[in-house]
Each structure stands twice: as C-alpha cells, then as structure tokens.
Symmetry: C2
Subunit: 213 residues, 2 copies
Amino acid sequence: MGNNSKKKIPHSVISRLFVYLRELTELDKLNIRVISSAELGERTNLSDTQVRKDLGYFGQFGVSGSGYNIFELKNTLEKILTKDENLNVAVVGIGKLASALLAYPGFKEHGLEIVSAFDKSKSKIGRKVGGIIIQSIDELEKAVKEKHIVIGIITSSAQSAQEVADKLVNAGIKCILNFAPAALNVPENVKIKDIDLSRELETLSYFLKYKNK
Amino acid sequence: MGNNSKKKIPHSVISRLFVYLRELTELDKLNIRVISSAELGERTNLSDTQVRKDLGYFGQFGVSGSGYNIFELKNTLEKILTKDENLNVAVVGIGKLASALLAYPGFKEHGLEIVSAFDKSKSKIGRKVGGIIIQSIDELEKAVKEKHIVIGIITSSAQSAQEVADKLVNAGIKCILNFAPAALNVPENVKIKDIDLSRELETLSYFLKYKNK
DNA sequence: GTATGTGAACTATTTCACAGCT
DNA sequence: AGCTGTGAAATAGTTCACATAC
C-alpha cells in the first residue's frame, strides 16, 4: 500500500520516465485512452515489471485489471518531470557539432533553448550560427547571469574542455553536457554528463569484433 | 594468482578501458613511464580499485610497489581492444548532425571511417557532404557488401528511424548507433546503442530542478 | 479474467580490505 | 614502504512471483 517515495530515485528511472512520456504523448495524439504496462513496455523495449516499478517510485497511477489512463499518466509524468519549466542553455566551442545542436528542433520541443554561443577564437566571435551571435568566452559569466542560463554544453576540443568547464562552473552553471573526450574535474555539486561518440562507437565495435571471435 | 578471464566482461569495463587507453596514449606522448592505479584513476575520475579490477579481467599487468608500465599497458590495451582493425561506417539520414559526424576527426583517429552516406530525399541524393556523395537509401544493401560496412549510424527523424533500422539489419549490419529519439526493434544479435540528446539534457536538468526542491 | 503494485530473490557492479609481491 | 590483485562485502538495479484490486 505504501509507496516508496522516500527512497532515492535512480538516474536510470528518471531517464526512462522521459521515454514513457514521449510514448504516451504519441498515444494521446492518436486518441488512445488506456495502456497496460506490458504494452507500454513493448513500445519502449522495456519489461512490464520495469515500467510498473519505475512508476511505483512516484505513486500508484494504474487501475488493476485494465491499465493506465494515458492522458492522466502523461500529465502526471509531465508534473513529476517538471516539463512546464523552460531552461536556457549555452554552447561553448563552436564547430559543426555546435551548429548541429543549434539546429536540432528536439531541444525546443522539450523546453530547452540554446540562447547563447561562445568561442575563444577571434575569427568566430561576432559571426552568426543558428541565429545566434557567437560571443567571446570572456562574456560567459555576464551572459549566464543576464539570460538565466542553467545548462552548459561543451563542444570544444578535448584540450580546452577543462578550461571551459572551469569557466562554466565559475559562472554558476550546475549542469554540463560534455561532448569533449576528456575526463573533467568539477565540484561535487555540479552534474556532468559525458557524451563520448568515439568511445560509444568503439565500445559497440569491440563487441562486434569479439562476437566474431 | 588465477585471473578471471573466463568470466564475462561487463560492457562498462570495455567502455572504461578505452578511457584508460586514451589517457595512457597522452602520458606516453609525454614520455612518462610508470603510473599507479591511483594516479590513473585520478586522471579519469575513477577509483583506484576500479582501475585495477577492470584490468584484472584481462590479466596481470602491474608491478607491485611501483605501478603499471605505461607503454606496455597501452600496447596491451590496444591489443585487447583490437584497435588495429579499421571499421567502415555508414550514416543514414543526412542533416546537420550527420554533417557534424562526417567532419568529426575523432572517428578516424580511432579507426572508424564513415565511408557512405544515405538519404531517401531526392533533393539530397547526389549532393556531397564531407567529401562523400549522398546515395539513395535503396543502394544501402549493395554498398554495405561492396564497402564492407559494419556499423550504421541513424541520424534520421524518429518517424523513419525504424524503417532505417530495418534496412540496416536487412543489409547485414550488426552494430547500430541511433541518434533518433525512438525505441527501435532489432533482432537479438544486433547491438544497438541509443544516443538521445534531449533525453540526456532533460534527465540532467531534472536533477538540477530536483536539487532546488 | 486481467493487470497493478511490491516485497523478495536475483543479478550486476562497485567498493572494501588485505594478503602478497617488489 | 608502496602498490597490485582479488576474494568478500556492500550497493545498485532488475526481474520474479504473487497477493490484491477492478
């Protein structure tokens, strides 16, 4: 009967909640009303138990014998995940990857807006990328304050990544997405998520090679 | 005394091995000779035990009382990770993200080469991106065979991602990196790795909001 | 009958702690 | 003295199994 709201929630659970929400949003658009944990699991490549356990961290939303009301669960998840608030993002290190991110519509759809772009190269400062004027990295701190930027994306080279991270932390950023292939040191209270494309591909291909003996 | 080579190796261990290798390569360039697990852990944001345990899956490479010979360990890891073989990669769905990946030098440095690019839009077919002529998706199967492509990267929209995945699987690809925010169904023997940028940012920002109560 | 919610069991992964080597 | 290698303990995360609800 009691829920497990007091237990601390694993990172992976939150990550999957976003997957459920995405699927529920699709289903709601199609005017489908109810879904079972098994069906939702099927559609997200997860087990029925996993779905129920994940939701169980936050309460009891299902109806025994029938399943979950899609519209209600969607709204509930939106509240849990505080999808109402919009967040401002800065990108540091402007190359093709940054351009791709600036052009990516997925962020805006999910309440994330890239509002500033920074680089240290004089040849890039003042130019426009994705409708945003590239600023000097020295203006980072000011911009973070003025534009209420709360997330930083590092798309610089590995060499300058630590320097960039330090500047982001100094400017008060608590949330960093790092694309540079470097192990960054940040204070305990700063959340950092590494996205290391070569490493992902290499790891993937290791298992490919390994399978072929 | 015995090693644990018979045990199956976690995905995460392999992934970290690439991190160690990267660091060792840097250190070797600087002509540093020896490193302890504690120092290597420091440089990669991992614990000393983690470093030793990970290496322990493959053998005993350290010297008690001093540490690991950097050059030797680097070579050993290169062998374990079969960094000698080069792998050919195809990208499907050509937009800014694909362009960024095509321009990314990190792949080539790590033995991964994007050799083909595909799209279904007639307006894109025949154009060049990153030195490669965009081909029709219908030519995928032929190209996979002729160019010995073993990895597919999906950078299409979520809507067409499943269709693309099916075509990659059909063409014999066993390894997929998926950037589309969609849960893809592939056979058991196909390895798929999802990189879902909005989700990563959202998850990150959830913890940010959560911390602020 | 069908599907949820959840302790208990299980599995995977990390960290501890220390014996043994140089 | 310093550092590795590794069972044992601890922790985290997933799956099982079933009592309970509709």
